[in-house]
């Protein structure tokens, strides 16, 4: 009897874990697909960034348009909202204020907020990213350690705003 109970216990456990794992993978795929689609709608040039949250990939994709743009539009003024970029800890979206081709402010419309821990990380990382971005006037800044997902998504959203502003 005991052997049978143990065996069915193991069987049930494995089944539940596999189901959980599959549900998890499905959820992640669905989330990434949604964000890729919304990214494409906002800015056709950067649909791939949302699906690749690794630092290197984001940085390369993000830098490319930024280096080619500035000369053309030096007198842009207005505010531009970046695409919403999803991470496993919630989505990130930023808005920039541009005056005469210079980025004067970065506002975080939404930051990773999936639980108190995420909020804490976002709150630490956002001011650092904001000041670095404003001083370099680009998305080419290093990620904040301990906040890789937030940084990557922040810079991706920022790059899409910069692209709209054409700077």
């Amino acid at each position: 009897m005991r052997t049978r109970a143990t065996l069915s216990g193991i069987f049930a456990s494995v089944a539940i874990l596999v189901i959980g794992w599959q549900a998890g993978s499905a959820a992640v795929t669905a989330a990434t697909a949604t964000s890729a689609a919304s990214g494409a709608g906002a800015r056709p040039g950067t649909p791939g960034t949302a699906t690749s949250p690794t630092p290197s990939a984001t940085t390369t994709t993000a830098t490319a348009p930024a280096t080619t743009a500035p000369a053309a539009a030096s007198a842009v003024t207005g505010s531009f909202t970046g695409s919403s970029t999803s991470t496993p800890y919630g989505s990130v979206q930023v808005q920039i204020v541009v005056a005469n081709g210079t980025m004067t402010e970065v506002k975080a419309l939404h930051l990773t907020d999936d639980g108190g821990r995420s909020v804490q990380i976002s709150n630490t990382a956002a001011p650092i990213l904001r000041s670095e971005v404003l001083s370099s006037q680009s998305a080419r800044v290093s990620t904040v350690s301990g906040a890789t997902y937030t940084s990557d998504a922040y810079l991706t959203s920022l790059q899409s705003a910069l692209d709209q502003a054409g700077i």
Partner: protein, 473 residues
């Protein structure tokens, strides 16, 4: 409570029609339910880990920091699940008491205590390391930022309380406490579990608002605390009010031993089977704050119940002097030391000292055929032969063989019988020749009972044919 009560007959040879195949079927049914219970124990642990996977956890092992954090989260989920399972096991839920028995449920409860605590301590430690690594600081420096997260200070208090609860329950430490002292500390575990809830819902992302995971998790809490509220609080209170039990008479049985006769209303509705116990509380100024598990020493009538108590400690000596008219509250009936627990065609009973009480009621209740039963009564001295006259009368009516052994425990041999019998070469086998085909019911002080039980195991009796009732807390 007990399912066999509806078929209970007045004691008479004619009532002894219980067929052996019936018992086997009953046992198989119980074993099946027990299997399902064990399986769900496993499954609930797996489900806790699956919650993490279902929220995309499998993708969070990319870096060492992430992996440490992820393992930390999983240990927290499983550890908490174990704690909730422990609460369910301690809730004295009727189906658990009837299938595996309260004492086995408590044994599982105890065996989960340390693993649960270790998992939760690991949870705290791993998250300090994991969070620290991802922020590039050491785990000690991470304590500050960690406590700055909303709800975290409460969770740390909860973990601290849990450490206290588990330490006071370690056998060595627990001996230094009175039952009541230990019990009050143990009640802190409810607080410990509840103050940890906010951080579970708010700090991580797994149980985020509106998720299926959160619904499942809260359901676990509802089941655990709901069963405590129902079976440990509501049911006893309702029973107590409904049956209005009071002390009617206290009778001296032997030096230090009293039978307390209780009266009440509609007591048959409690459906207590012979051999079961209730947890009693006597409402006098000196005794209301402690309760005692005491077996019925006779089958109840509709208006009366009898319990028999020996002065084992200060608490019991106070209840042996309660006055007639004292109000009594109770929880129960509990226990599998009953006819419903039978699995084998023959019945063997070994009983020592005051352990006689449940056996007395069990024998009265059991549907045995003449020749089916063998009883061995054990006492250190002739004065401790409590209720032996009643047992011998029942044995005569039920057609049971009755042996007695009086004398101090032997220094050699099996150790549970007097020297004279050990020297004569008496063994468990010689007393119970049909042991392999018998249900062996043992009742008495733990140290003595363990010896008999080990002896029976050595004689090769299957585990499910062993039925024990230990007389200490």
């Amino acid at each position: 409570m007990s399912s066999n009560t509806t078929t209970r007959r007045p004691v008479s040879p004619g009532g002894a029609r219980a067929a052996a195949p019936d018992r086997r079927k009953q046992y198989r049914r119980r074993a099946r339910i027990a299997d399902i219970l064990v399986t769900s124990l496993w499954a609930s642990g797996a489900a806790a880990a699956a919650l993490f996977l279902a929220t995309g956890g499998s993708a969070k092992f990319g870096t060492v920091a992430d992996a440490v954090t992820s393992i930390g989260i999983v240990t927290g989920l499983i550890g908490t699940d174990f704690i909730l399972v422990m609460i369910v096991l301690a809730a004295r839920i009727p189906i658990i008491d009837r299938t595996v028995g309260h004492d086995r449920a408590i044994a599982v409860h105890r065996s989960l205590g340390k693993p649960a605590l270790y998992l939760l301590l690991a949870h705290g430690a791993l998250l300090l390391v994991g969070y620290g690594m991802s922020s590039g600081i050491n785990p000690i420096a991470e304590i500050g930022p960690m406590l700055a997260i909303p709800d975290m200070p409460l969770a740390v208090i909860g973990l601290g309380l849990l450490v206290v609860v588990v330490i006071t329950s370690l056998v060595a430490v627990r001996r230094t406490f009175s039952y009541e002292g230990w019990h009050i500390v143990h009640l802190l575990s409810y607080v410990a579990v509840l103050v940890a809830v906010p951080h579970q819902l708010s700090v991580g992302g797994i149980l985020s608002a509106g998720s299926v995971e959160r619904v499942y998790w809260i359901a676990l809490y509802v089941v655990a605390f709901g069963s405590i509220a129902t079976y440990r609080f509501a049911e006893p209170v309702i029973s107590t009010i409904r049956h209005r039990v009071r002390v009617s008479r206290v009778e001296n049985v032997a030096p230090g031993v009293v039978s307390i006769h209780l009266s009440g209303r509609n007591l048959r509705a409690l459906e207590s089977a012979g051999g079961q116990f209730f947890v009693w509380r006597f409402w006098t100024g000196r005794t209301w704050w402690h309760s005692h598990p005491i077996s019925l020493s006779a089958l109840p009538t509709d208006k009366t119940v009898r319990i028999t108590v020996r002065d084992l400690g200060t608490g019991t000596s106070a209840i042996s002097s309660v006055r007639p008219g004292t109000r009594v509250s109770f929880e129960g009936p509990y226990g599998m030391f009953t006819d419903a627990g039978r699995t084998a065609p023959k019945l063997a009973i070994v009983v020592a000292g005051i352990g006689i009480t449940p056996v007395r009621a069990f024998l009265e209740d059991s549907k045995v055929r003449p020749g089916e039963t063998t009883i061995l009564l054990r006492a250190s001295t002739q004065e401790e032969a409590y209720l032996w006259n009643e047992i011998s009368e029942l044995a005569r009516r039920k057609g049971a063989r009755l042996y007695t052994m009086v004398g101090k425990r032997a220094q050699s041999g099996p150790g549970w019988m007097p020297q004279a019998d050990a020297s004569r070469g008496v063994t468990l086998r010689s007393v119970f020749p049909d042991l392999a085909d018998s249900d062996l019911y043992i009742c008495g002080p733990t140290a003595w009972l363990d010896l008999v039980e080990n002896d029976a195991r050595r004689a090769g009796i299957p585990e499910h044919q062993l039925h024990t009732e230990r007389f200490d807390w």
